[in-house]
Symmetry: C2
Subunit: 394 residues, 2 copies
């Protein structure tokens, strides 16, 4: 199958490119190195060394694995980049990771907020128009996020909910309560993609993904140059990855607030499985479907406990700190999100365990000399200090 | 009260500026003439002559009415325009009409779609950040649209709905099914404004307005130079205004498709009442509230019948044509939208009647020599002809 991977230089994008390539698909990867630049601006870097450009990574892959991955270095907001990708490569599936993926990044400043929404909304609009005009039967597999739903007081369904109201009923989009301007941008994308499927008949799958952890996949282990990026900083790091790294370097585990915040989680190898299941079982013409893509729910405290337990067994001396929560979010709340659609398609989860955490420790150990400690603590606040005094007389 | 009016050169914006100014408020109006340019690009113009620039209109207002309206000609997507408006004028209320308001315009091309979403989302983000940083106690009164809801098979509530699900319940944002990429942009705005109110404590009212009709307000009648614009073209004209104009010039009334499409409608003088009620009864700190702003529901066929009846009595010879619907929308559907919040605040509706339609005829008659007939028929299709042949082998 001809598969276009948007954001093919990223943590999941590069691992996904190798995964499909190794299975005989014709893969083309696109990236504009936004993540690399954002980390460099912030004075930090991936734990794993990603010295090579995307073309050089693809060349190493071809040399060792024998499979070709096509590469475009460019910005999907630029139509002169997006159009030829669809017109010439004629993808049958598009896997769209090509967005600015950080909640705190979107709240650094007005400029960062505007950039985040511009980048994510406009590049996805470009993709939808390119599909409409050049590959109307192709299937868009778009990475959404469980964070679009927020933490409602009812069970979270997969994208749609049957509502009975005043004696009538309809199946409607599940209400969204996104928790950052980044998460808002993903809700905007979902609205636009749903529209494009309804009106233009496009096939689309929105994968509302939980928090991904893990550092190794089948392919990354084949050669040191195949390693995928691993971010642990306040902007792009995710909770379990950060906790494991903190355990390895002797930094207290930083639990934000009370730690009752509960979310869905999954292993990076299960991300690859889920995306493959979505691609191999495409949406119908005009169908916009949503899968909640995670395998288990944990609170932050549960993750900290697990890392504490596994780390202590491993010989680390671990402290858990509750730091001031930079975010505005419920720290104790109901959370029960459905996630059966991907299981029904055949997903075999690799559940989180002490053994898995220990394998992360050993992978992190190999690169611990690269850790930039100052990047770990949160600095970006959801409610910044007021810039000016209130001047309206009451 | 210090009131900032965004989009103050428009059909509703200019009428609103005069309305508040005449009641002793300190009004500042901002516009970048987007609507004027969009019509000029399309070879058409407002029925009513708007020869003067916004400063000249404000000068005429000051000369006759004796009230000053401040003016800024500029683009709210440009922070160097938005920031000083909030920093220096320190508005207590912001009435936000400053968006690209046309569904067909947003679907002319990819470029128009991207522009629409960029313009609407980014200028509203700028407003939210300016409020956060300079006027955190001000009240945003944002014009949304009933079109955000689409036509669900259940009653439409005002912004939020109580959902019982699997034995639990929550009050959540009402699910949205926007019918164009313009309507999607308004949903995006609603999501962002709700976020800003929850996280930053901003006061906000989203007025999900129905289709506005009418050509005269208390202030427009005072002097010919106070006239507000009146669009009847395929991009910016609305159904009843277009039907009245068609009746006057002897053009068949253009009903799109079967004509069962039902929407909420209100008179422009009720728009002014509603906006004033929202401003004078502000949202609480951190509150994001939604009012459905319309007074009556009609199907397109009912409006065509009314204009046919009133026009025949008035002496016109009227034909009703069902033309091919350029939109993708349900032409027969359930529609029952709640609209009690503004009535509870004191709204006294001016209902649609034959008499009112006749008064529109006479106002339109005065400018009928200005009608550009070729601008009336719809050309912009929701589903354009495919640009390329499908090239994926099946």
């Amino acid at each position: 199958m001809r598969i276009l991977i948007l954001g093919g230089d990223g943590y999941l994008g590069w691992a996904t490119a190798m995964h499909f390539s190794a299975r005989g698909h014709e893969v083309h990867a696109v990236d504009n190195y936004l993540r690399r630049r954002a980390l460099a601006e912030n004075g930090t870097d991936s734990l794993t060394p990603i010295a090579d450009s995307l073309p050089a990574r693809a060349a190493a892959w071809e040399e060792v694995a024998g499979y070709h991955i096509g590469v475009t270095e460019g910005d999907l907001c630029d139509w002169s980049v997006t159009e030829p990708l669809f017109r010439d490569f004629q993808p049958e599936a598009i896997i769209h990771y090509g967005e600015m993926p950080s909640a705190p990044y979107s709240l650094i400043s007005r400029e960062h907020a505007v950039f985040t929404q511009y980048n994510n909304v406009v590049n996805t609009l470009n993709v939808l128009f390119a599909m409409r005009d050049y590959t109307p039967r192709a299937h868009l597999v778009k990475l959404g996020t469980m964070g679009e739903y927020g933490t409602p007081n009812i069970d979270i369904e997969e994208g749609f909910i049957d509502i009975r109201h005043n004696g009538r009923e309809d199946r409607l989009p599940f209400p969204k309560l996104p928790g950052s301007l980044y998460h808002c941008s993903k809700v905007h994308d979902s609205t636009n993609i749903h529209f494009a499927s309804r009106i233009w008949g496009l096939r689309s799958t929105d994968l509302n993904q939980g928090v991904v952890y893990g550092i190794e996949t089948e392919e990354t282990k084949l050669d040191p140059r195949f390693v995928t990026r691993f971010d642990y900083d306040e902007l792009f790091g995710t909770a379990l990855n950060r906790f494991c790294l903190q355990a390895v370097i002797g930094h207290p585990l930083t639990v934000y607030g009370k730690g009752g915040q509960t979310r869905g989680y999954l292993n990076i190898v299960d991300t690859l499985q889920c995306v493959e299941l979505a691609v191999m079982n495409p949406a119908a013409e005009g169908e916009y479907r949503v899968f909640n893509q995670f395998t288990e729910q944990f609170s932050i405290n549960e993750l900290a406990d697990l890392v504490h337990r596994a780390g202590t067994d491993y010989g680390y001396n671990i402290r858990v700190d509750h730091v001031e929560n930079p975010r505005v979010e419920a720290e104790e709340h109901y959370y029960n999100a459905k996630h059966t659609a991907l299981l029904d398609l055949g997903l075999k989860p690799r559940y989180l365990s002490e053994t898995l955490v220990e394998s992360m420790f050993s992978a992190i150990e190999r690169h611990k000399h690269r850790v930039i400690t100052k990047a770990i603590m949160p600095r970006t606040k959801w409610r910044p200090e007021p810039r000016v005094m209130e001047s309206i007389a009451e």
